[in-house]
Amino acid sequence: MYRFSAHALRDLFCKEEVSAETIAQSTLKRIAHYDHQIGSFLSVLSERVMEKASRLDQKRKEGKPLGRLAGVPIAIKDNINIDGQLTTCASKFLQNYRAVFDATVIKLLEEEDALLIGKTNLDEFAMGSSTENSAYHLTKNPWNVKCSPGGSSGGSAAAVAARFCPIALGSDTGGSIRQPAAFCGVNGFKPTYGRVSRYGLVAFASSLDQIGPFTTNMTDAAMVMEVLGRHCSHDSTSLAVKPEEYLKKIEEDIRGSVIGVPWSFLDQLQDGAKENFHQAIEAYKTLGATIVDIDLSLLKHSIAVYYILSTAEASTNLARFDGVRYGKRSQRAATLEEVYDFSKQEGFGPEVKKRILLGTYVLSSGYQDAFYRKAQKVRTLMIQQFKAAFEKCQIIAMPTSPMTSFPVGAIQDPLQMYLQDIFTIAANLAGLPAISTPCGFSSDGLPFGLQLLAPIMHDAKVMQFAHAFEKATGYSHKIPPLFDKMEHSS
């Protein structure tokens, strides 16, 4: 059953060829059997999902209409609230925190009869590119368990790659869906900023955060985006527009289209990654697309801009974790000041502390103009450069990451880790829809990701181009050998 896509599972369930209880049981069994090898989950919602499955079977028995995700197991990154369930953000600060409401995305998935199976691991508060910053445990890459799954949504990417579930949700602030999707050989989509509601997502950098899906194929991505991509009155940045018809649009032919590539920005690519990217471009030419060179020279500054703006926003957003109303309160604290000082010291990990301090610095008087204001201005210029590029093409293609997955612990210098996101960050800064889709393997068997970007609101266009690539290459269907087996055969 693990080989089925989400849409295939839904069809089987609706045709009464399999029950929701069987799907849920088999999913739980697979996680229990295999997840100790990669650690993709922080909590598994066994009881909850079995209850839901039983209600769903009853609903089907009664002949009631079934939702668009009926019987589909879905994993949720542990920075998205599910009412009554732990929402730790992989932080000690929220070790015992139980969400008091459902995020909008959760509500939408539940309304369409999805089976929510568990909460996945992440870098603490989504701050990182390797999932090594989780306060709980490491997550490993299903393609090579010595390697990182990427981050920050490493748990969600690994869970889908290992075929624990066909769909998982992640959040993407600077590449946190796309980079782990590339590392784990699955699809990871970051919608246009405002396309999917952020209500109930624990905020990291509010002007950049966006929720999106991991899937094993583009039809599933289109199916889940038809559910999630709608206006929400609880999020003031939610786009008040009609949902796109993703399932219909992804089938359209890309013949005669123009793809832009910022060739000079890709100069520094290492040989393996460069060759892989060239092959992808050749595949698009075969599909009838024309390739043009575009200027995105400002993107070389995207990491500097991002680490000013995102830390500034994070330092503001994370001020709410003060040890007073919920979350960690230090046992050592005897005064109110000590409640703040000690709770944060004990509750936050080193990367989170660093970013709060850095964000406070770039916002402090005397430095605000030199850092924060300057970064906002360069962000404006980047948006303008993207607009100019999209005058010449419908889609921009570049690698998702400068390299394939690296061994766990291999990158110690924080700046080197930040540089991992050189190709992904700009989409967040400009609010663009962007996807990472599987694009082949390195000589040591690790997946490459191809990234596609479109103008704001053209989410379906990104998926259409990824879908055409998927049909032409078939990379999306590859399963990590370690996990391409039934539970009893290992």
């Binding site: 002007s207 009155s233 786009l239 003060d322 005897a334 201005k377 210029l381």
Partner: protein, 100 residues
């Protein structure tokens, strides 16, 4: 621009995060490196450029009707509270009394 441990001290106080000496050393080293990297933005000419506040102009001043929506019941809220008494969050004394 110098970034030293005194700056870390100042920032830690502003953020209300207690840091050990060892933490301060590492933070100072890392933040100084990142700030140095950020200097590259000085290469970009930004004279007369408007700072980007939001990527979509339609997002400015979005208001909803002032209506009562779903409320969070007090009991449910208090389940996550580190300490509470009489239906209220409990914290150490804010105002201190001293004997004359």
């Amino acid at each position: 621009m110098e970034f030293d441990e005194k700056e870390v001290d100042k920032l830690a106080k502003l953020c209300r995060i207690e840091c050990t000496e060892e933490e301060k050393k590492a933070l100072c080293h890392h933040i100084a490196g990142i700030l140095k990297y950020m200097q590259q933005l000085n290469e970009v000419e930004t004279q007369g450029v408007k700072p980007c506040l939001r990527v979509q102009e339609t997002h400015a001043n979005v208001l909803r009707d002032d209506e009562v929506g779903d409320l969070l019941p007090r009991e449910k809220f208090l389940e996550n509270a580190p300490a509470h008494v009489g239906g209220m969050i409990r914290v150490p004394p804010v105002i201190k009394f001293t004997n004359p």
